[in-house]
């Protein structure tokens, strides 16, 4: 497939630019990229809502790579929920959770379907130790995933983690407290999770955890950004990147649900890029 692409490119200068050729090429490149990152369906986790899943080129969150989540306690809950989801997919396995702080509270994680029995908690003295522990974890095929809370990550380390995760199929979640100055460029997806006032409910108690979920970056779908803008323009709508959803944790499904306020809105048209397969 690659050789084909090269051939077309060589012929390029002699021919007038042909939009169908270009489109074909783009399609081919996307197919190649998808092929490289091809993930078996059982390694993709549905976030719990179709709208969210469709926003990702894998139709869900792939379990074979590095994902960065910034935010405070809400990010911890989101990470615990994701790990719990993968725990259901991979029936046996352990989660390695590495951080410096000794504040993680297993009882609270259990509320997101996360099983603390299946967690190994490693406390590192500094970011270097944590990065080392994460990489060791990513080279252990029996794990569901590794979660690391880390302040600073050099680009080369992020790249190493992504490669290790891709190779072993172990998911890597990087928790970045606050607003990271230097995001991990190698991550497949980058999220920001912030708390949001919950929907008012009748009677005492709180609504389920409600977050503003922001997808700041997503590899592979950026190639389709131009397409998407073009498509949006033709539809007479402008769609902003990053993308934002107001979600709440749903105990019954063990996933996310769009917050009540959004649920009744008409379904957004599917972006063009996601129709190419």
């Amino acid at each position: 497939m690659q050789s084909q692409a090269v051939q077309v490119h060589q012929e390029g200068p002699r021919q007038a630019p042909n939009s169908t050729v270009l489109d074909d090429l783009k399609t081919q490149i996307r197919t190649i990229e998808r092929g490289r990152a091809a993930v078996a369906a059982e390694h993709v986790l549905s976030l719990g809502d179709e709208t969210l899943d469709r926003a990702l080129p894998w139709n869900g969150l792939p379990g074979h790579g590095l994902h960065e989540i910034s935010g405070d306690a809400a990010a911890i809950g989101f990470a615990a929920g994701l790990m719990a989801g993968f725990g259901r997919i991979r029936a046996n396995g352990t989660v390695l959770w590495c951080q410096r702080e000794r504040a993680l509270y297993p009882q609270g994680l259990a509320a997101f379907g996360f099983d603390p029995d299946r967690m190994i908690l490693a406390h590192g003295a500094n970011d270097t130790d944590i990065l080392w522990a994460l990489e060791e974890g990513l080279r252990t095929p029996g794990l569901i995933g590794v979660v690391g809370r880390i302040n600073k990550i050099p680009p080369i380390s992020a790249r190493r983690l992504q490669l290790a995760a891709e190779e072993s199929g172990v998911m890597c979640l990087l928790l970045r407290p606050g607003t990271p100055h230097a995001p991990a460029g190698a991550a497949l997806t980058r999220w920001r999770v912030t708390a949001m006032p919950g929907a008012p409910i009748d009677g005492p108690g709180f609504s389920p955890p409600s977050w503003n979920l922001e997808l700041q970056r997503c590899r592979l779908s950026e190639a389709g950004n131009d397409n998407r803008r073009a498509a949006s323009a033709t539809l007479g709508k402008t769609r902003a990147w990053p993308r934002n959803w107001e979600v709440e944790w749903c105990d019954e499904t063990g996933g996310l649900a769009l917050a009540a306020g959004l649920r009744d809105r008409p379904v957004e048209p599917r972006p063009l890029s996601d129709r190419i397969h």
Binding site: G93, R102, A103, L104, Y105, Q107, G108, A110, A195, P197
Partner: protein, 496 residues
């Protein structure tokens, strides 16, 4: 010198002092009269014992079974018998080319450390003790009693060789019993009557008619591999290469025995007589040389070869059965796929614990406790097995935060009703308006626990708060409401 009843006396004397006529047990004044320039130091039995212990560790280069002889022959107790070490060389002599060669090496090596030593080798500890202290001299620093010749060897020795107290020796002396041979000819009855069982017991122990159990410093490992170098080595690569060879050998031994190592000791014997010991543990038995080598890799970083390493030894200090087929934890039989996973995870735990420290790599277990900070117990992941526990708690239990501060933080709170939830609180110089509150959940102190932080002594009323931005906090008011004192509020955790 040492302080004993009746004044300061000489505890031990070096050869030069002995040549001047100074003997242990002598009052210091007498010794000073004999030799006014005598240099004296206070006796330090505790330090002596520590030095002996180090020496016993160093002597594991000859045999893994070593022990310190606790009978410390202080001069005041009559006659300097010197300090002693027990070495059980069963099965080790052939490594050195026979018993005589071993003892020669041992004495020579100790001499190299400026330690004058005598050695006795016999079938029983009692006889070896007697021979080392009473049958050797400078020209023949060691003596070996071949099997079956014990009586001949012992007969000519003074009764003091039987490790008897000075009073007993004196009593025997009064009866004209000066040699062990004299005792051997005596009928046992009268001896027992006069001196109690002690003389006969020591005699029997020396002759092997009674058992004398001695505990080694460390239990001798079941599997040891050792490597001696013609020239001391010092480069890190050489040490690593030596370790690889030892691991190969040890693992082959373990495989033959159907065992796996749970704890490995790697001992470096330096040329200057000191030793260095590095230990690694595994969460489940292993005899995979590659895995074990990785565990040692970080441990060896700080190893200081000093003047070079003469010998290195690798000992499996703890082992468990490890069958090819059934390699489950704690004897469970596991399905193959699951088992591979668990083996990988166990290896990961080993590596993490080796580098980060075993107490930093944990699994958490729930504990039945109302107090939130007690409800989980971190257990070192090495040794923790997979269990299924109840984390959710009772169905209707109020939610718990995802982060719990190890130390609750004191916060300023404004509550419109004294025993109601806060309307506003200040934390880290920022003000938070409470948009919603839920509570209280009263958590009573566990009066049956006496230990613990003082903060757990009072009743706590926990509230969940949501600020205007939607962030959720877990705060509590300490103590019951009292009109004379404003309540103390603490921030204890964060909800997702």
């Amino acid at each position: 010198m040492t302080q004993v009843h009746g004044g300061t006396r000489i505890a031990a004397a070096n050869p030069a002092a002995e040549a001047a006529g100074i003997v242990p047990g002598q009052p210091l004044a007498d010794a000073r009269a004999l030799y006014p320039g005598l240099a004296v130091h206070p006796a330090a039995p505790a330090e002596d014992l520590r030095a002996l212990d180090l020496l016993a560790e160093a002597c594991t280069r000859f045999t893994p079974w070593t022990a310190v002889d606790p009978v410390w022959g202080g001069g005041a107790m009559g006659g300097s018998l010197g300090a002693g070490l027990w070495l059980d060389i069963t099965g080790c002599a052939h490594l050195f080319g026979g018993e005589a060669a071993l003892l020669e090496r041992l004495i020579g090596w100790l001499g190299g450390q400026n330690i004058s030593a005598r050695a006795g080798l016999a079938d029983t500890p009692g006889a070896a003790w007697a021979l080392a202290r009473h049958a050797t001299d400078d020209s023949a620093p060691f003596i070996i009693a071949e099997p079956g010749t014990l009586r001949q060897h012992l007969a000519g020795l003074p009764v003091a060789a039987l490790r008897l107290e000075a009073a007993v020796i004196e009593g025997l002396d009064r009866l004209g019993l000066r040699r062990i041979g004299d005792l051997l000819e005596m009928p046992r009855g009268p001896l027992a009557k006069r001196f109690g069982g002690v003389v006969l017991k020591r005699l029997d122990q020396a002759l092997g008619q009674a058992d004398e159990p001695i505990s080694p410093r460390r239990p001798p490992p079941r599997h040891v591999a050792r490597l001696a170098f013609a020239e001391p080595i010092g480069r890190a690569e050489d040490i690593a290469a030596g370790l690889d060879r030892l691991l190969d050998r040890l693992c082959r031994g373990l495989e033959a025995a159907g065992e796996g190592a749970r704890q490995l000791d790697f001992i470096l014997y330096r040329a200057d007589g000191t030793t260095e010991r590095r230990t690694v543990g595994t969460s489940r038995p292993s005899r995979d040389p590659r895995h074990l080598a990785r565990l040692f890799r970080d441990k060896l970083d700080g190893a200081d070869p000093g003047f070079g390493i003469e010998i290195m030894a690798l000992a499996a200090a703890r082992t468990n059965n490890l069958d090819e087929k059934q390699t489950g934890l704690a004897g469970w039989t596991l399905e193959p796929a699951k088992d591979v996973n668990q083996a990988d995870t166990a290896r990961l735990v080993d590596r993490l614990s080796g580098k980060l420290g075993a107490r930093n790599v944990t699994r958490v277990r729930p504990v039945e406790s109302h107090l939130p900070e007690r409800a989980g117990r971190a257990q070192s992941a090495i040794g923790a097995s997979n269990t299924v526990s109840d984390w959710k708690g009772p169905e209707r239990r109020p939610p718990r935060p995802v982060e719990l501060l190890p130390q609750p933080l004191l916060i300023d709170v404004m509550a419109p009703v004294p025993d109601g939830p806060p309307a506003m609180f200040r934390w880290r110089r920022r003000q938070y308006q409470v948009a919603r509150a839920e509570g209280p959940e009263r958590i009573a102190p566990e009066w049956w626990r006496t230990e613990g932080a003082p903060l757990s002594r009072d009743v706590r009323d926990y509230y969940r708060l949501e600020d205007e931005g939607g962030k959720r906090y877990w705060v509590y008011r300490e103590g019951l409401y009292r009109p004379d004192r404003p309540p103390a509020w603490y921030l204890h955790g964060f909800f997702a």
